[in-house]
């Protein structure tokens, strides 16, 4: 069955420290992976998608098909990065656009 796992409910780091939010997925086909972010009192929004291979707000994520992972990384965390982060999987061949979300990880960046 298709599944997305984010093993950490809470990740707490100090400002300036590196950050890695883990995401593992289970899907036998060709996946498309996303990271969504929800800042306090704001709506959920797309942060990045693996096919774009871009860096947004200093965050990057690389799809590792061998390890079925899509970890989100940032070399130097900022306080404004504090938010809830969700990893999501789209079963690429689907034409309904459905996403499967992980449980979410709260990132807390301390001053």
């Amino acid at each position: 069955a298709q599944r997305v796992t984010q093993p950490e409910k809470l990740l707490s780091v100090f400002k300036g420290a590196p950050v890695e939010l883990k995401c593992n997925y289970s899907y036998s086909g060709s996946p498309e992976l996303f990271w969504y972010v929800q800042y306090s009192r704001q709506r959920l929004q797309l942060l990045l998608r693996h096919i774009s291979r871009e860096s947004i707000k200093g965050f990057t994520a690389d799809l590792n098909k061998g390890e079925t992972s899509f970890h989100l990384k940032k070399p130097f965390a900022q306080e404004e990065d504090s938010a809830m982060y969700y990893c999501a999987l789209s079963m690429g061949s689907s034409n309904t656009g459905k996403l499967i979300f992980g449980q979410g990880t709260t990132l807390q960046v301390k001053p």
Partner: protein
């Protein structure tokens, strides 16, 4: 905000009463989704729609029904609300062919 509005934003209701949440979009997107957000579970898909009168069940559809009589409106109904349906409900629209979704601001529902 991709022209998505949810109403109401907050609701408190009693067990056993029917509740309808509304999602409205202004940009004529074909795909719409309803999720619930719960601690430890992330976002789980309740129902989705791929056009007027075309809907299908998601992962956690029991106790919920939906309707889409117009492109712009996607309604979620809790037929007889239970305390386990206390949650934050999010509507999303999907960009065709891109698997990207844009979310509404959410509705916080408390069932007492």
């Amino acid at each position: 905000d991709a022209g998505i509005t949810q109403s109401p934003r907050h609701k408190v209701t009693e067990t056993g009463t029917p509740v309808t949440l509304r999602c409205h979009q202004t940009e004529n997107h074909r795909y719409m989704y309803w999720y619930r957000q719960d601690p430890g579970h992330g976002l789980r898909l309740i129902h989705y729609s791929y056009g007027v009168k075309d809907t299908d069940k998601g992962e956690v559809s029991d106790g919920y029904s939906v309707s889409r009589s117009k492109t712009e409106d996607f309604l979620l109904t809790l037929e007889s609300a239970t305390s386990s349906q206390t949650s934050v409900y999010f509507c999303a629209i999907g960009l065709a062919g891109k698997n990207i979704q844009y979310f509404g601001a959410g509705t916080r529902l408390s069932v007492l």
